[in-house]
């Protein structure tokens, strides 16, 4: 899973400035890694800066669109340089099983302990939510727009060019929902059935996108009429004036999580930071800066997020109820990994 948002040179620079500008002798510091772009800027303002201030620590930032290979190389080299990583939840789980990620002691992370169990794992805490939604061009569909994955698969009723992500995660879920599986009955995924359903739509897919930026551009340029895309990407181009919209109906609710590298250089501070980062108030500040939902649902009770804003967010309870909650535990199970591998041959056939 890569580039949920633009990989941001800006943030790398920010990180560099933070590195050079801070007292090298500051008592406590951590290195925090996220995915860059507008997203990392938003969390810097909403979460990282306030947390650093409150804890009296220095947070050095780095950014990388896809942290997974770097985590693996850093930890197996025996000398990781990063402490906390914001990465798709599946990597935290898989990394935990492979001994690359620290197991968390939730008694030291009260803010996370108060979150629903589905939102955390032994190795990670949900940090923010985004959603893989059905997005479409309002030019092609001024009314009677596609509203479910069954509509997406219905090429007769909704003629037009389509794009899906070149990745099995969320795509298999969409295929099963198109085939009539209820959003809360998806797991364990019926992989054969999903691929069979995908075979149906494959000839009608013009592009299999690989980055979030690409998906936004496809819709914006009219290269496709409907696609699966991340909600924040769609709303960003809509804000710039593109005639595009999306529905949360049958969206696949996904999260990135915070996890700590095994043998992180500043382990104790990292745990303290992790607790602070999921504090409901910091969390509630995030959606004021970007279209992603708080990882901690208690944020909706702080009063910081206005109801009309909450209604736009993927993890807002009413929106969440229309969607399927991605099971990262299933995807990092042997069956999930086998499904991922099957994707490559599906694409090449």
């Amino acid at each position: 899973m890569n580039t949920i948002r633009n990989s941001g040179l800006g943030c790398t620079l920010l990180g560099a400035i933070a590195l050079s500008g801070t007292a090298a002798y500051a008592a406590e510091q951590i290195t925090f890694v996220s995915q860059g772009g507008a997203y990392q800027q938003a969390q810097t303002v909403a979460i990282l800066d306030p947390s650093a201030k409150k804890l009296g620590i220095t947070i050095n930032q780095d950014s990388i669109p896809d942290a997974w290979p770097a985590i693996k190389t850093q930890v197996s080299s025996g000398k990781p340089i990063w402490d906390v990583v914001d990465t798709p939840t599946g990597y935290c789980l898989r990394g935990g099983e492979q001994g690359l990620i620290e197991k968390l002691d939730f008694s030291k992370i009260p803010n996370a302990a108060a979150m629903p169990e589905a939102y955390r794992s032994p190795y990670s805490v949900s940090y923010e939510f985004y959603s893989s939604v059905l997005a479409y061009s309002q030019k092609t569909f001024p009314k009677d727009a596609p509203n479910s994955w069954a509509d997406f698969w219905d090429v007769k009723k909704f003629p037009g060019r389509r794009a899906l992500r070149n990745h099995p995660i969320a795509t298999l879920e969409a295929a099963l929902m198109a085939d009539g599986v209820a959003p809360d009955k998806l797991y364990p995924l019926d992989v054969d059935r999903a691929f069979k359903k995908l075979d149906e739509i494959k000839p009608h897919i013009t592009v299999w996108w690989t980055s979030g930026a690409q998906s936004a551009q496809l819709l914006n340029d009219g290269e496709v009429d409907m696609e699966m895309a991340w909600n924040g990407r769609v709303s960003a181009v809509a804000k710039e004036g593109a005639k595009v919209a999306f529905t949360y109906n049958q969206g696949i609710l996904q999260s990135t999580s915070l996890c700590i590298l095994k043998g992180a250089p500043n382990l104790a501070t990292a745990v303290k930071f992790l607790n602070e980062a999921v504090d409901p108030v910091h969390q509630a500040n995030l959606p004021l800066h970007i279209d992603y939902g708080p990882g901690n649902p208690n944020a909706f009770e702080t009063g910081v997020i206005k109801p009309e804003r909450a209604a736009q967010l993927p993890s807002e309870p009413a929106n969440a109820a229309k969607q399927a909650l991605m099971s990262y535990a299933w995807w990092s199970s042997p069956a999930g990994e086998a499904a991922e591998k099957r994707w490559a041959s599906f694409m090449q056939k």
Partner: protein, 270 residues
Amino acid sequence: MLALVSPALLVILALIVLPVGWLAWQSIYHDGFTLVNYRRVFTEDIYWRSFALTFEISLAVTLIALLLGYPVAYLANTLPKGWSILILSLVVLPFWTSVLVRAYAWLVLLQRSGVINQFLRYLELISEPLALVHNTFGTVVATVHILLPFMVLPLYATMQKIPNDLMQAGASLGASPSLTFVRVFLPLSLPGVLAGCTMVFVLCLGFYITPELLGGGRTVMVSMLVSRNVELYNQFGAASAVAVVLLLSVLAIFFVVSRFISLDRVLGQK
């Protein structure tokens, strides 16, 4: 002598020999010696398909680049100096633009709402936009554009060295210009052709960004297979094995070519 070159040797050791050695090691060692990664590369369909597609695309790109590049190099060689400088600058100019930017530029040109489709529609030559990108076609077009200088420059260098006297001798013996070209100039330019083709072919084998952006997800070249193995499947061993096989293919190509011309020529040193 050794004292003089040893810093250079150290750099090569640290930056090339060690990483490549580590790569090779990783492909055969995972909790013990194993050939499973190589077995997979040679038995699983998707690897075969990727290698086949990569070689096909590289071949197509090389041939197109040759057809486009030869006349350009020939013109640069025969026209007066001012013109030839202009032509060569135009060929080299794109070098200073990043591959990524050029790939996106082609996207802007080729997509449905792109310049080319809009122009064709304006002329009413087509009613529906053509599918020029997000497929192998778009990949080949952009790759040719990026690799064309690697064809033109070796060709031009070789042509420069063909003595004009030979052409005049041919003419004075009564051969028509086209016959002198076919019998004298063309054979003498063949080393340049081989050098240019080798450069373009080998570079194309490792292309990554262009097929990733312009291939629509279906054009899976070998380098993309390497990255997917790491990013999606977490199989560093498999990725290394693919990389090693690709590296060996390139070395094999250089070895074969070196039987015909000196490698210095291919690498543009002479």
